[in-house]
């Protein structure tokens, strides 16, 4: 038993070292290793062995209800890994761009847009984009609404190369996120400007002098898309509001709102053009979720039982021994 425990702890050290090496490599190589099938399968193999040691540790010891935290924690790890494995083998995830308006999701001409989005956003150049319809529903993004925070400004100093006047100047950000106070923007020694005189649109530049410029930013506060979803089986139409952090479920698929793209309208103002959605089918989602909760609750229970013993077992035992010796004499 003790030997098995020792082996499982040593194995845990090895798994940690393996993940640490991958995490360290990320400083140089980014996420490249995690997109390499060899590394992915090595990771899957290591995690599978890790899950097996957890299963052994669960069944090798006698059942004791006081160890419920231990059981939940270790079973949670196994469940979470099993759920993730199910998704890894049988799940589907697609990132797509949808034009706002009346364009149907299953329109064949959308294949090209999907391909472009996959390349530019996922950066996964070697992956073949599936163009066939795998969904059990059709979808239209009816409308899209964006709410913005008040415009803020960043101030830049323009540094020109004196020896090479034709070279592109360098911009050094001196002040960031300058907010309006009582209808004015205060840029310190560079001046104080009335909010009315400054542009409100995103990404507009105003040159204060030859050496200084300010650029406007209006961060997104909230955005939501209104969807019309048509069920392929029943042809029923349902309307849903999709927001960040609030995915929608349709026929076993989960739809996530990720971001949106803009284009300039006739007044040269940026308006939303398309929304970027993720469609995900994850058969292991609830198993993984149960695993995470088991780990959380298990760790709390396991540690609370130990915290009850915090007075240091050895010291308490010594105190009891002294007391016992005193009583017997």
């Amino acid at each position: 038993m003790k030997f098995l425990f020792k082996i499982s702890v040593i194995f845990m050290m090895a798994v940690t070292a393996f993940i640490m090496v991958l995490a360290t490599m990320q400083f140089w190589r980014g996420k490249e290793d995690f997109e390499n099938p060899a590394v992915i399968w090595a990771l899957v193999a290591v995690l599978f062995c890790f899950a097996m040691t957890m299963v052994f540790s669960l069944f090798m010891r006698k059942f004791d209800v006081r160890k419920i935290g231990f059981y939940m924690l270790h079973a949670g790890v196994v469940l979470a890994l099993a759920g993730s494995m199910l998704y890894h083998v049988n799940g589907v995830k697609r990132l797509e761009s949808h034009m706002i308006g009346e364009e149907h999701m299953n329109n064949p001409s959308r294949a090209e847009i999907r391909s472009v989005m996959k390349k530019s956003i996922l950066g996964n150049k070697n992956q073949n984009v599936e163009t066939d319809n795998i969904y059990t529903f059709d979808l239209i993004v009816k409308s899209f609404k964006v709410e913005k925070y008040e415009t803020i400004y960043d101030l830049y100093e323009i540094e020109k190369d004196a020896q090479n006047p034709d070279a592109e100047p360098e911009y050094r950000r001196v002040m960031a996120d300058v907010e309006s106070i009582n209808g004015h923007y205060d840029f310190g020694k560079y001046g104080r400007f009335n909010a009315e005189g400054l542009p409100k649109e995103d990404g507009k530049r105003v040159d204060i002098s030859d050496e200084v410029c300010i650029v406007s930013r209006s961060p997104d506060k909230h955005y939501e898309a209104q969807l019309d979803i048509y069920d392929n089986y029943s042809s029923a139409k349902t309307s849903k509001t999709l927001m960040v952090n609030h995915p929608q479920r349709v026929n076993g698929w989960k739809i996530f709102l990720m971001s949106f793209t803009t284009s300039n309208d006739e007044n040269d103002e940026k308006v939303p053009e398309s929304v970027v959605l993720i469609f995900k089918y994850d058969p292991g989602e609830y198993i993984t979720l149960a695993g995470w909760w088991f780990i959380i609750i298990g760790s709390v229970i396991a540690c609370i039982f130990k915290i009850g013993n915090i007075g240091d077992k050895a010291t308490n035992a010594a105190k009891r021994k002294i007391k016992k010796a005193g009583n017997s004499t």
């Binding site: 003790k2 425990f5 020792k6 702890v9 845990m12 050290m13 798994v15 940690t16 993940i19 640490m20 991958l22 995490a23 990320q26 400083f27 980014g30 996420k31 995690f34 979470a80 993730s84 995830k93 925070y149 803020i152 960031a176 996120d177 907010e179 961060p219 997104d220 506060k221 909230h222 955005y223 927001m243 960040v244 952090n245 609030h246 995915p247 989960k254 996530f256 990720m258 993720i278 995900k280 989602e285 993984t288 979720l289 995470w292 909760w293 780990i295 959380i296 760790s299 709390v300 540690c303 609370i304 130990k306 915290i307 915090i310 007075g311 240091d312 010291t315």
Partner: protein, 280 residues
């Protein structure tokens, strides 16, 4: 309130925490508690201003998170003061608060930080709050481990050969007693912080599944957070086993290194640009 005024308050709070550390060290307890409490109030004022100015719990930017972390050290110490009567820990907690406040003081930050849509989630506050509590406890626990491991070095470099036999024995006993305190202290702190770290890590995963469609995306910050959790978990396992027990403090110290890498290293090396943790 302007950023300059806040910086002045943060500076005074940092000095207050350091002064309290020194006072604890020289056993001026009463005045140390007062100084520590005053520094904590100043720290709380800054957190309050951040909260009111932004209209949400200030857990978004690194400046906001660090200011709140400074507040957590004295709070978590209170548990050990009143429940465990571990008053000797006070100096370590106030020192850690002082270091964090110094970091906030020298950092270039702005009060207002707009909450992006992805962070407007019910999981956001539990995720950060659990992490801040656990990081404050684990940081102090690892400092205990470092001091514990440094004790033999102290004996080697500061040998006092002139003392009589009895004096040396008393000193050795005292040193052993101190080491036992540090060992127990590190264990108690990690034991309490571990469930919070677990909550922080896995609340983050549950949130990510709602916002970014994946429980786990092998993002660099997530990976280092997992490594940190694993090191402290190994520490707890090592304590149980007789032959692994001697390695426990190594894992506590490795945990601190991984913790610093997660919390500061990843953004310091500019590696979180493409990650969901880009705001930190």
């Amino acid at each position: 309130m302007s950023m300059i005024a806040l910086k002045v308050i943060l500076g005074i709070a940092a000095v207050g925490y350091y002064t309290a550390t020194v006072l604890y060290w020289i056993n001026k307890r009463r005045i140390a508690y007062i100084t520590n409490a005053a520094a904590w109030v100043l720290n709380a004022v800054v957190v309050g201003v951040n909260w009111v100015s932004n209209g949400y719990m200030p857990f978004v930017s690194m400046y906001q998170v660090l200011t709140f972390l400074g507040l957590c050290f004295p709070l978590t110490y209170l548990y050990f003061h009143f429940i465990n009567k571990d008053e000797w820990m006070a100096k370590y907690f106030s020192l850690c608060s002082g270091i964090v406040m110094t970091g906030v003081f020298i950092m270039n930050a702005s009060i207002i930080w707009h909450l992006p849509p992805a962070l407007q989630s019910v999981w956001f506050i539990p995720h950060v709050f659990a992490y801040m509590l656990s990081y404050s406890l684990c940081a102090v626990a690892s400092v205990f481990s470092i001091v514990y491991c440094a004790y033999p070095l102290k004996d080697r470099f500061f040998k006092n050969s002139g003392n009589p036999q009895n004096g040396n024995e008393t000193k050795n006993n005292k040193a052993e007693e101190n080491r036992a305190h540090l060992d127990k202290g590190a264990y108690d702190l990690i034991l309490i912080s571990f469930p919070f770290m677990t909550m922080g890590l896995f609340f983050g995963a549950i949130w990510a599944n709602e916002a970014w469609s994946e429980f786990w995306s092998w993002d660099i910050k997530e990976n280092w957070a997992l490594v940190t959790w694993a090191f402290y978990s190994i520490y707890l396992h090592c304590r149980i086993h007789k032959s692994l027990k001697k390695f426990r403090h190594i894992f506590s110290i490795l945990g601190l290194i991984a913790l610093l890498m997660t919390f500061q290293g990843v953004s310091f090396f500019g590696m979180n640009a493409d990650s969901p943790h880009t705001y930190t």
